[in-house]
C-alpha cells in the first residue's frame, strides 16, 4: 500500500474529512439562509418603491389628468433602470409605457404579483414584480420593477457558496492529511514496537508521546499489560529453571541406582533393592513435580476459580487431628485453639495442605529442649482476616533468613540433613497468595511462629 493510499484509508483522515464535510454543509446552509433573507428584503424594498411610485403617479393624475400622467409615464419609461410602467384603456389596449401589454395573470384584485413581461418593441423581457392600479373610466396603470437585481444577488450568493465550498474541500483535504499523517506516524511507531515484541524482545514498550491524549492512554495501558505479562513469563521461566535445576539431582540419583544395579552382577535380592529404590526416587520426583506445578499454578493465579465458602475450624481440627498421633509419637504436645465460626472463601484441599505443611515443618524442625516440644495451632479472626498460627518452641529461623525460606527449594543449613524437598513453605505461601493472603514468619521467643493470613469471608 502506498503512503498516500494508507493515509487516505486511515480512520483519522476519514474522520477529519467528514468533519470538514459537515462544516461545508453548514456553511452552505448558512449562505442559503442569508440569500433567502436578502431576497426577501430586496422584494420588500421593491414593493415599497412600487407603492410609493404608484402613489406619486396617481397624484399626477389627480392634478393633471390622463394627459399629464401620460407625459410623466412616457418620460419615465425612457429613463434607464428597472422601473416598468404601462397605462391601458378600459379594454386593455396599451396607451403609454415600456411594457408591451398587461400580463394576463395580473388583475386589479391580485395585488402585488410576480410575472413575465415583454418590453415594448421587443426591447427586453424578463420577470418583474408589479401591481395594477385602477384609474377612473376603466383605465388601468401597471407599476412594476424588473427582478434582474434579485437574480444578480442570487448569482453572487451561488458564486460565494461555490468558492467557499472549494475552499472548504481544499482545507479539509489538507487538514485531514495532516491529522492522519500525525496519527498514522504514531500508530506506525506502535506497530513497530508490537512487531519487536512479537519477535521476542519482551523489553520493548509502545512509545508514549507525553501529551496524555487517548493514544497515549492506550499506549500506557498496553505497556502495563506488557509489564504484567513479562512478570508472569519471568515467573514461569524461574519455575522451569528451578525445575530443570532441582530435578537434575534426584534424576541423577535415580539413574545412578539403575546403573549401579546393572554394573554389579548382583543376585535377585540386590536387583530387587535397586528397583525398590528406583521407585522410591521416582515417587519423590513426582511429589516434587506436583508441588512445583501447584505452586506455579497458584502463582499464575490460574486457580482462583472454584473458591467455596468453608469452615476454617473444620479444616484446622481435621488436619491437626491427622497429625496428632504422629506428634505424640515424636514427643510433641500438639494443641489446637480455634475460634468458632471462622468462615472464608477458599479451597479446603489447598488450605488443608498448606496447614499440613506448616505442622509437618514444626514436627520436623520444631523440637526444642526436652521439656518444650510444643506445637500450638491457633486460628482466629483479626479485623477482616482470619489468621492461622502454627507456633513451635524449636530453634526458630534467624531474622535474616525469614524471607529466603519461602523461595523454592531453599533449605536452611540446619535442615539439609533431614528429609524434605524445600517446597513446603513455598507451597503454603503460594496457597496464601492464591487466596489473597500471605504467610509470615515471626519469632515465638523462643521458637518459630508461622502466621498464615487469609481474607475472611463476608459475614
Amino acid at each position: 500500500m502506498t503512503a498516500l493510499g494508507k493515509t487516505l484509508r486511515s480512520t483519522a483522515f476519514r474522520l477529519t474529512f467528514a468533519i470538514f464535510g459537515f462544516g461545508a454543509i453548514g456553511a452552505a446552509v448558512v449562505l442559503g439562509l442569508v440569500a433567502v433573507q436578502v431576497i426577501k428584503l430586496v422584494d420588500e424594498e421593491t414593493r415599497a418603491a412600487i407603492a410609493s411610485e404608484a402613489e406619486l403617479l396617481l397624484e399626477q393624475y389627480d392634478s393633471g389628468g390622463l394627459r399629464r400622467l401620460g407625459l410623466v409615464l412616457a418620460a419615465r419609461s425612457r429613463a434607464p433602470g428597472g422601473s416598468l410602467y404601462l397605462l391601458t384603456d378600459a379594454i386593455g389596449e396599451p396607451l403609454v409605457g415600456n411594457v408591451s401589454q398587461l400580463p394576463p395573470s395580473l388583475t386589479l384584485a391580485s395585488g402585488f404579483g410576480e410575472t413575465r413581461y415583454q418590453g415594448v418593441a421587443g426591447a427586453k423581457m424578463g420577470r418583474a414584480l408589479a401591481r395594477v392600479y385602477a384609474l377612473p373610466n376603466g383605465f388601468r396603470l401597471l407599476v412594476g420593477h424588473d427582478l434582474g437585481d434579485r437574480g444578480r444577488i442570487g448569482a453572487v450568493m451561488v458564486r460565494t457558496l461555490s468558492f467557499s465550498l472549494v475552499l472548504f474541500a481544499g482545507l479539509a483535504a489538507l487538514g485531514a492529511l495532516f491529522v492522519a499523517r500525525r496519527v498514522l506516524r504514531r500508530i506506525d511507531a506502535m506497530n513497530v514496537s508490537a512487531k519487536a515484541l512479537m519477535a521476542g524482545d519482551m523489553t520493548e514498550r509502545l512509545p508514549v508521546s507525553g501529551s496524555g491524549d487517548e493514544l497515549d492512554r492506550l499506549a500506557v495501558g498496553l505497556n502495563q499489560m506488557l509489564a504484567r505479562i513479562g512478570e508472569l513469563m519471568s515467573g514461569l521461566r524461574e519455575v522451569s529453571d528451578n525445575i530443570a535445576h532441582d530435578l537434575r539431582t534426584p534424576l541423577t540419583r535415580l539413574r545412578n541406582h539403575a546403573e549401579e544395579a546393572l554394573r554389579v552382577d548382583g543376585d535377585k535380592d540386590a536387583y530387587r533393592t535397586a528397583l525398590l529404590r528406583t521407585i522410591e526416587e521416582s515417587d519423590g520426583l513426582i511429589r516434587v513435580f506436583d508441588a512445583l506445578l501447584m505452586i506455579a499454578r497458584a502463582e499464575a493465579g490460574a486457580d482462583r476459580s472454584g473458591l467455596a465458602r468453608l469452615d476454617l475450624g473444620e479444616v484446622v481440627a481435621g488436619v491437626a487431628e491427622l497429625y496428632e498421633p504422629l506428634a505424640e509419637e515424636r514427643g510433641f504436645a500438639l494443641t489446637v485453639d480455634c475460634e468458632p465460626g471462622l468462615a472464608l472463601e477458599g479451597r479446603r484441599e489447598l488450605i488443608g495442605q498448606a496447614l499440613a505443611n506448616l505442622i509437618d515443618n514444626a514436627l520436623k524442625y520444631g523440637a526444642g529442649a526436652m521439656d518444650r516440644n510444643e506445637i500450638a495451632v491457633a486460628a482466629r479472626r483479626e479485623g477482616g482476616d482470619v489468621v492461622i498460627e502454627v507456633a513451635d518452641r524449636g530453634p526458630g529461623v534467624a531474622a535474616q533468613d525469614r524471607e529466603r525460606v519461602f523461595d523454592r527449594f531453599v533449605r536452611l543449613e540446619s535442615a539439609r540433613s533431614r528429609p524434605g524437598s524445600g517446597l513446603g513453605l513455598s507451597l503454603a505461601a503460594a496457597v496464601a497468595r492464591l487466596h489473597g493472603g500471605a504467610v509470615r514468619l515471626e519469632d515465638n521467643a523462643p521458637g518459630l511462629k508461622v502466621r498464615l493470613t487469609l481474607p475472611a469471608a463476608p459475614p
Partner: protein, 227 residues
C-alpha cells in the same frame, strides 16, 4: 472380577492387562473412546478403568454417556491431570474414583478392587460388619471383639469401618486419607501409619490373632487371620 481397560497408550495398556491378569482378574482392553464405549455398553463388567484423554471420545464424555444410558458400571478415571479441579470434574462426570498418573500399580489394583466390591444398587446396607470375632455395629457405633467392647475415637471408628467394609482387600494409605479424612493431598510424612498403629493397639494388642495386617509396599488389610 471382569474388568474393562480403556487406554490408548499401548505400552501402558499391555502392562496393565498383564498385571491385572496376574492378580487374578479377567480384563478386556479398548484403545479408543468409541470402541471402549461399545464394549462397556454391551459387556457386563464389574469395573472399568478409563483413561481421561482418549482418541475419538474422551474419557469423561464416555462415562457421562454411559451414565445417561443408565449404565452404572463403576469407573475409575486415570489421568495425567492431577489438580483438585480435574479430580472434581472427573467425579462430576460420573466417575467413581480418580487416580492421577503416574501411579503405583498396587494403588490402582486396590482401588479397582474396592470399586468392584460395592454393593449392588438398592441392596440394603449392612448394619453390622464382622471380621473374625470383631464386630462393628453401624447403628450404635459400637465395636467389640470377642464380646468385649472396644472404645474408639470417632476418627478411629471411621478408619476401622472403612477397613472392615473392604475386609480381605488391600486399602492404601491414600485411600484411607481420602475416605476417612476427605483429603487428597500428599501428607509428606506418613501420618496414616501412626493412626493405623493406634487403631491396631486397640483392636489387636490384647488378642492372639492380629486382624489388621500391613501389606508391604501397598497398604493395609483387615482379615480374619484364622482362615
Amino acid at each position: 472380577m471382569r474388568l474393562l481397560l480403556i487406554e490408548d497408550d499401548r505400552e501402558a495398556a499391555a502392562y496393565l492387562v498383564k498385571a491385572f491378569r496376574e492378580s487374578g482378574h479377567l480384563i478386556d482392553h479398548a484403545a479408543d473412546g468409541v470402541s471402549g464405549y461399545d464394549l462397556a455398553h454391551e459387556g457386563d463388567y464389574d469395573v472399568m478403568v478409563v483413561d481421561r484423554m482418549l482418541p475419538k471420545m474422551d474419557g469423561l464424555s464416555l462415562i457421562a454417556s454411559l451414565r445417561a444410558q443408565e449404565n452404572a458400571t463403576p469407573a475409575l478415571i486415570l489421568s495425567a491431570l492431577g489438580q483438585v479441579d480435574d479430580r472434581v470434574k472427573g467425579l462430576r462426570a460420573g466417575g467413581d474414583d480418580y487416580l492421577s498418573k503416574p501411579y503405583a500399580f498396587s494403588e490402582l489394583l486396590a482401588r479397582v478392587e474396592a470399586l468392584g466390591r460395592r454393593r449392588p444398587k438398592g441392596a440394603p446396607e449392612e448394619t453390622v460388619i464382622r471380621v473374625g470375632d470383631l464386630t462393628l455395629d453401624r447403628l450404635s457405633h459400637k465395636v467389640s471383639r470377642a464380646g468385649e467392647e472396644i472404645t474408639l475415637q470417632p476418627r478411629e471408628y471411621r478408619l476401622l469401618e472403612y477397613l472392615m467394609q473392604n475386609a480381605g482387600k488391600v486399602v492404601t494409605r491414600t485411600m484411607l486419607l481420602e475416605h476417612v479424612w476427605d483429603y487428597h493431598f500428599d501428607p509428606q510424612t506418613n501420618v496414616i501409619d501412626v493412626h493405623v498403629s493406634r487403631l491396631r493397639a486397640k483392636i489387636d494388642r490384647d488378642f492372639d490373632a492380629a486382624l489388621i495386617h500391613t501389606v508391604r509396599g501397598a497398604g493395609y488389610m483387615i482379615r480374619d487371620g484364622a482362615r
